[in-house]
Amino acid sequence: MASAASNPAGGVERLVSINVNGRVRRVDVLPQETLAHTLRYKLGLTGAKVACNRGECGACTVLIDDVNYYACSTLTHNVKDRAVLTVEGLRAEDGTLHPVQAAFIQELSPACGFCTSGQVMSAVALLKANPRPTRQEAREAMSGNLCRCGAYDHYLNGVMRASGQLS
């Protein structure tokens, strides 16, 4: 049975199911709602940060079908049939950290940490596409993620360590 909430006349369906970190979550989504808003304020996944809310900084980066996206600039309605991965979904089932997370700890990559979730997700996306990037390739791939503390060198070290190129 259609309801006003699920399918208003002339509008989009509001009650949608999205696959986040391998789980299907049902959520009431406004037509103009961004994925960052849905994740943070409706699903309680606050790892993705809203620092600019306009696609400038990358602090809200998540993976959609293994590609990194700014969640603040992605409409939730556009990810209904796709797999969303946030920083909270990176750990293995036994709790083991993702290699990027472990490498970032070892290299003390985060500083204040507000951009870190986004940096982690961009690094994960990079290594999925290119498991052994050069430092220059990593620099370019990560360049959509701003770090106001300027911890770029440490993040790049983390990427190189996660890809097995730094011992």
Partner: protein, 813 residues
């Protein structure tokens, strides 16, 4: 000296949460029944609110109320009010907050509010208000006056008033044209030595104007906050650099007893000086929540963060420097006009101090004026004054060196501050200085002599430039408290009121206590970030001072615990306290280490004994905050608590030196930084990875200052043109070198128990200065006399279009 913990890397306790997304910042917290507040900000650069009609907004479903300046204690200029009414002084200044059941309702309701404004004249360039007859940023003037007046409750400014300083057209014209404004009035001045006599002995004299443009802090975490009240207590989730210092001041802003404020701030998403102390908006968050009797989250957008998140002050200046035959600086004469923005302060004195300490002139005069403009408020930003001076001074000193026939490095060597260095108006001394050694170390790492000899042109349209720069900031205070508890579980709970501003110093400084106790770090628990966890009175966190200041207070707390451990062991096992040692989480007889007590056993004995051993009695001289914490902890273990009364003389300095090589494309004005090498002179290195973070991050900030970041205002309407991150703009991965080489000098300061000083701020100054020096070198010593130097400036210079400081314009194109 061989240390157990100092100088070793460790994993700070909060790092894992940062990489898993579990670390929570102020906006990540929720509370049942929480409502959302949003701001309505001024569209005018100057004026006043005549009337507010919020009736339509308040009638909307879900809207709960508005909060205006009338709900706060009155505030007069130049205090920066949380909400403006009679004195609007910049675009984006908050006028009111509106709360609603949802963020969306709040946003929509704000649009329904009608405000009648009255416009006033405004000014964006300090020299425009300095001119006789020019517009004033406040109705009653253009400059700060310090007096003995009391601060209005709930405001952060104290003892200040607005005055007026004006120069004649001739004086302003002379200054705009790079000449001394003879007979001009200044707000502050100092001098030492015989400046005229020293200039007379100088073979080389250089006289140059300069401009540095201010820019926003743009902390990545906007200063959102959440507050709620329960049983008369305010629970505040905020974002500050400092913790217990912030707690005390925030309770004053909220007009409550500090015992009734629970301040929670485990992580802070950047501050860079803008969150050292509570900022005005925190008063709105806390008081609006109390007024509504609902948990309230104040959400600050990126654009609002540009407006209220503070910014660096800019400078317009004139400098005359003389070199003697031996390359030593004989005399300096400097004039600085500071852009204090709206309600901020200038940092010209610190700029002058930078020259004094880094080049040790035999005589020096400084004159300055801090002028308000109708631009965003200015405040402390990473090395305020020192770093922007470092950036414009480096190429000017390079010019002096070339003119005098000296190697640029040789001039730095000749003038480097030594242990007996004096500086500033008072000609005060230093706790120590190993800057000559740091210069040599960095020069060797960079291979200066070899690179100086290399060819300048690298390709048809590309040239090399190499540069060097130095940074300084005072780096240490004293008199704060240390606090720890040894529990009956044998663990050492290291309490700190140091904030977590991203440098990991909050944990690093506690390793001084673990070092003194000779215990394993794995058995230490860092307690921080929540005033309910019983934190001591710790230092404010700004000015690179945490490492020096808090390793001292950690050390004295550990010494107090060690004394108590030994006394307990002696009472229990016989002998005198001095017969015992500590180590391995035990206190034991030095002559027979099988005889002793574990920390767990000693903690239980401390509880049994009571008194000072378990916190029932504590030193009289500790701060009220620490006393409150000890009171709450009494009887729970062995308490180590003390105020840092260790000897301290002179200023503890933080120094750094950087070398930069660039390859510049003369067709585009773009350059690649092909080498970045920097050395910190910060005493003993406590945490090598942390030092690397500070030096690299500071270097990135330096690159931003020299090449990218600035305010741009439309002078006709006072509109800011670059409120966003990508416009301002902080450097990205692609704007900085792929690798940065940094190191510490690692020579101990005698006034720190572990030899440590801080270096966060000089890390930027040296980087900015070195890049400015390299840009000038690439262009055969050309001086732009301003920061930032952008590619368009370079291209126009190469094309002989004659870009330079021109008329010393700032804040505009």
């Amino acid at each position: 000296m061989t240390y157990m913990h100092i100088g070793k890397n460790f994993t700070p306790p909060d790092v894992e949460a940062k990489v898993t997304g579990a670390a929570r910042y102020s906006e990540d917290f929720r509370k049942e029944g929480m409502v959302f507040a949003r701001l309505l900000t001024s569209p005018l650069p100057s004026g006043r609110v005549v009337s507010i009609d919020a009736s339509e907004a308040l009638a909307m479903e879900g809207v709960l109320g508005i909060f205006t300046a009338d709900d706060l204690p009155p505030s007069l200029p130049p205090a920066n009010p949380a909400l403006a009414k009679d004195f609007i002084t910049y675009i984006g200044q908050p006028i009111l907050a509106l709360a609603a059941e949802s963020d969306l309702i709040a946003e929509n309701a704000i649009e329904k509010i009608k405000i009648v404004f009255e416009r006033r004249p405004f000014v964006t360039d300090p020299l425009d208000t300095l001119l006789e007859g020019g517009p004033d940023p406040y109705p009653n003037g253009n400059t700060l006056i310090r007096n003995a007046g009391e601060a209005a409750a709930g405001t952060t400014a104290s003892g200040t008033d607005v005055g007026r300083i004006k120069w004649s057209l001739d004086q302003v014209t002379a200054f705009r044209n790079g000449r001394e404004p003879v007979g001009a009035t200044f707000g502050e001045e100092w001098a030492y030595g015989d400046v005229a006599a020293e200039f007379a002995q100088c073979k080389t004299i250089v006289e140059e104007p300069f401009v540095t443009i201010g820019y926003p802090h743009h902390s990545l975490e906007p200063r959102s906050g959440m507050a709620y009240w329960e049983n008369g207590k305010c629970y505040f989730h905020g974002s500050l650099q400092s913790h217990t210092v912030g707690h005390a001041q925030l309770s004053a802003m909220l007009e409550i007893d500090p015992a009734n404020l629970v301040f929670i701030n485990e992580n802070t998403g950047g501050g860079f000086g803008s969150k050292i102390f509570p900022y005005p908006m925190m008063a709105v968050t806390g008081k609006f929540a109390r007024q509504l009797n609902r948990p309230l989250q104040m959400r600050i957008t990126r654009e609002e963060e540009f407006y209220i998140g503070s910014a660096r002050s800019g400078m317009q200046g004139w400098l005359k420097v003389g070199l003697k035959d031996d390359g030593k600086v004989g005399a300096v004469d400097v004039i600085i006009i500071n852009d204090a923005g709206s309600g901020g302060g200038g940092s010209a004195g610190s700029s002058a101090e930078h020259i004094s300490i880094m080049y040790q002139p035999a005589a020096m005069r400084f004159r300055g004026v801090a002028l308000y403009t109708n631009t965003t408020p200015r405040g402390a930003q990473r090395g305020p004054g020192q770093n922007e001076m470092a950036s414009v001074l480096a190429p000017i000193m390079d010019k002096a060196a070339r003119q005098g026939g000296f190697d640029r490095l040789a001039v730095r060597r000749a003038n480097a501050p030594r242990p007996d260095a004096k500086f500033g108006a008072r000609q005060g001394g230093l706790s120590s200085s190993y800057m000559p050694e740091a210069i040599e170390k960095a020069a060797a790492m960079f291979r200066w002599d070899e690179r100086v000899a290399q060819p300048k042109v690298t390709a048809d349209n590309k040239v090399r430039g190499i540069g060097l720069g130095m940074g300084y900031h005072s780096a240490g205070a004293n008199g704060y408290d240390g606090l720890l508890r040894i529990g009956t579980d044998g663990k050492i709970y290291l309490h700190t009121g140091v904030g977590n501003l991203g440098t990991y110093s909050y944990a690093g400084v506690l390793r001084a206590a673990a070092e003194a106790l000779q215990c394993s770090w794995e058995n230490c628990v860092v307690v921080h970030g929540n005033s309910e966890l019983n934190l001591p009175h710790s230092t404010y966190q700004g000015g690179s001072n945490t490492m020096f200041t808090e390793t001292r207070s950690s050390h004295v707390a550990a010494l107090d615990a060690i004394r108590k451990l030994k006394e307990i062991a002696a009472a229990e096992l016989g002998g005198a306290a001095d017969d015992y040692s500590v180590g391995g989480e035990r206190v034991f007889l030095t002559s027979n280490d099988t005889k002793g007590l574990t920390f767990a056993e000693a903690a239980q004995k401390a509880i049994d004994l009571g008194g000072e051993y378990s916190g029932q009695v504590y030193p009289e001289d500790i701060n009220a905050t620490t006393k409150r914490s000890v009171e709450a902890m009494k009887g729970t273990g062995l308490i180590g608590v003390a105020k840092d009364t260790l000897p301290k003389q002179g200023t503890a300095p933080g120094f750094a030196i950087a070398f930069v090589e660039i390859e510049m494309d003369l067709d585009t004005g773009k350059y690649d930084i092909t080498d970045y090498t920097a050395v910190a002179e910060c005493g003993t290195v406590v945490h090598p990875q942390g030092l690397s973070q500070a030096m690299n991050g500071g270097g990135v900030w330096g690159i931003g200052m020299a090449g990218y970041e600035r305010h741009v205002y439309d002078p006709q309407n006072g509109l800011p043109a670059n409120v966003g991150l990508y416009q301002s703009k902080p450097p990205t991965y692609l704007d900085v070198p792929a690798r940065m080489l940094t190191a510490g000098n690692d020579m101990p300061d005698p006034q720190s128990p572990v030899g440590a000083r801080g270096v966060g701020e000089p890390a930027q100054g040296c980087g900015a200065a070195a890049l400015m020096s390299a840009i000038s070198d690439a262009l055969d010593g050309h001086l732009f006399n301003r920061t930032p130097v952008t590619p368009d400036m370079i291209v126009n210079h190469v094309a002989q279009n004659g870009f330079n400081t021109g008329e010393l314009k700032t804040n505009t194109f």
